[in-house]
Symmetry: C2
């Protein structure tokens, strides 16, 4: 579930969508190797490395979960103390609930990368995703770091992306080239998500690089703006995983002019960064575990932005609403029910609800719109539900998905079986 | 999901469990008839009537959902204006989101009953449960009211209970006989629930009668106490349906002494009322739609009661936790993850987690308890998860269930199909 820019004010930037993901910007290289973190015999990529060839300005947003993975603790410390040159990230083990040993392991990963790159430990950030509460098989990781460094290449984004995937079924990558002054800058990134039925489901990692020339303060401002309007509703109200991390590295190697505070270039950068994050956030929703529907929940004319958000998020999270999406049922009763307990100020007799362009409910009552017509909307893999509260002028939009039997099956049976198999092999 | 008495202070009352449900107490009669509310051809009971043969003191708790059914609005008005003699309740149609016509229909139901019983309209309360947003087929209801009155009998509880069931699969009835002074009083009730995966799922109705002699203020105090510690966590934080209602009618016809404020008898009554509500609340959880597990989530040693409650409710609501219960997976990682985003004050390194008596997590880290042993606990249809925060002295317990593929299937496919069929027949 991800939030779209509050509808009122969309950015209008002209840019070109390009390939290259996290290595689209100048001066960045990436690679991936196979460590067998989850399973020593496996052959899939599970360790990614992203490196800037020169100094960077870097900003990051970490989970608000009070149970924080060891890698999050170490990265938070490193980014506070130093500039950043590299990100090392693994899948297969979250290095969460792993105590002192987990911290040592996360540090060991940054140390191994630093030694190979000839930088300082604190110039390396570390991210992990996978199972919670099991020790990281650190030897299997460390031994492959030289290999990862050797494989670094300017088109290594695809490999890095594959290495951080867990239950993701599709790659998530997006990059843009933005004309600016007499030159242009690039912003590109990769992400992993999945488990999107509810914001608390799974680790979300996103690594973005840019060759724009931008200072720490302006990058920070742009980052907060873009995260709030893209990923932040994947992690609504603190419902974040133990490992969630978004990192933006900027190395200033483009030929575009330096981005100054309150300049048109700053607006351009902010909007372009938002665009990249929003596209990646949408990909995360679409690739939620066993998701078959992508639904935009638009709330209009709420008393306040906070009210609009409460309604959008409550409807988007309602299991009964999600089940009805899955069943292709234009069930506005379940929607108005969720509106009623959202905590927002509402007046039942003013509420209008639409499926696509068809009005299902007017003034809190059923319309005469034929159900068969509305069913056609809900049968589509992507559609919009609009809830007009007719009370004020504030709007908010949330992206959500359906809830499928396959999701439950996946999270109760297959997944559990895999964990059991692993545990029985002596990991815990 | 229902809350147990805050563990600290359990009531100890000696009483006898008896049959008779909502007609166990002296001077109450009940009945049910078939109106074909959901489907004119159906033969199931769908209209219940509960009547006191003499005047009563009555108290009620209604939904906090801002979208309130017409019947709720009418009953709230009636109970404010008058004493109560009867409850009329139907299944098959919620009479919610039905506008002015809905209010007229709810009033018509109370009028029909009042005329037949020779009481005032405002002495009759009305409750509905079923689909939202469709007009009540009021003629089919009204015509059967004389029949319902004619069928009233002192052992009519079973019929009344069956008439209010929707997706419930099991009857929910409980009654006690409580020795008091030289006599005894009785408290008994019936309930409907289901859809218990999350508190926002379905209407909860509960009708309780007693022949205790109790004044309005003391009944109100006992009612608030008992609801808070039983049903109130079915309807956590305003996540109530449009129709939720709990009604307690007391007619004073027992031979037990009058219950006075702060007396031992008041304590006795309060505890017995709580017992009846708690048993009915547990039955609702156990009978949640497609539930296969009944799990008690006990939180201990939180900093405050509010913190204990946040943790218990967050864990009990987590879809990933519920999926792991369904998969018989003792997955403490998902539990500690939910603890982390609950909003409660916690210290990861102090958290202990147990499945039954087996410790899975100590100080935020995995224990050496064999997974196979913990699996045996989680394979049981009923078990306890204990979360010790080791931070304070407050505790809270919530009852919850698993999440099954069948739940999703039920709520996306079968249920929707039934609604469609009905709508296509010209109801909306």
């Amino acid at each position: 579930m991800a939030t779209k820019a509050h509808d009122e004010r969309e950015c209008r930037v002209s840019f070109k969508v390009i390939d290259g993901g996290v290595t689209a910007a100048k001066g960045f290289r990436a690679s991936a190797v196979t460590c067998g973190i989850k399973n020593p015999e496996a052959t899939r990529l599970d360790l990614a490395l992203i490196v800037s060839d020169g100094p960077t300005t870097t900003d990051a947003v970490f989970t608000t979960n009070k149970v924080r993975a060891a890698c999050v603790r170490v990265s938070q410390q490193h980014i506070k103390e130093s500039d950043t040159r590299a990100i090392i990230a693994n899948s297969g083990n979250a290095n969460a609930c792993t105590g002192v040993q987990g911290i040592q392991d996360a540090k060991a990963m940054t140390k191994a990368v630093a030694e190979q790159l000839g930088v300082k430990m604190r110039q390396v950030l570390v991210c992990s995703t996978g199972i919670i509460g099991m020790p990281m098989p650190i030897e299997r990781v460390i031994v492959k770091v030289p290999d990862a460094v050797a494989k670094l290449k300017p088109d290594g984004s695809e490999d890095a992306m594959r290495a951080i995937m867990t239950s993701d079924t599709r790659p998530k990558t997006f990059a843009v080239d933005v004309p600016c002054g007499k030159g242009s800058f690039r912003i590109g990134g990769i992400a992993k998500g999945a488990g999107m039925i509810c914001p608390n489901m799974a680790t979300m990692l996103c690594f973005i690089t840019t060759d724009a020339k931008i200072g720490k303060d302006e990058l920070h401002r742009s980052m907060r703006y873009a995260v709030e309007k893209s990923f932040n509703c994947i992690t609504i109200d603190g419902d974040t995983s133990t490992n969630d991390t978004v990192i933006v590295m900027s190395n200033g190697q483009s030929d575009a002019p330096t981005i100054k505070k309150n300049s048109p270039e700053a607006e351009l950068f902010r909007c372009a960064l938002h665009k990249v994050m929003l596209e990646l956030a949408k990909m995360i929703v679409c690739d939620g575990e066993r998701v078959t529907k992508f639904v935009e929940i638009r709330v209009r004319n709420a008393r306040t932005l906070a009210d609009a958000r409460k309604v959008a998020e409550t409807v988007a999270k309602s299991l009964l609403v999600k089940c009805s999406f899955h069943g292709c049922d234009p069930n506005w009763g379940r929607i108005i029910h969720a509106v009623g307990y959202s905590g927002a100020r509402i007046r039942e007799e003013l509420i209008d609800i639409y499926f696509g362009g068809l009005q299902a409910c007017k003034g809190g009552l059923a319309t005469k719109t034929p159900v068969a017509e509305m069913e056609k909307v809900v049968q589509e893999p992507k559609f919009t539900v609009t809830i007009d509260l007719n009370l004020g002028t504030s709007g908010y939009t949330v992206y959500t998905s359906d809830l499928s039997e396959e999701y439950v099956d996946f999270n109760s049976a297959e997944y559990s079986a895999a964990i059991h198999a692993k545990r029985q092999k002596g990991f815990a």
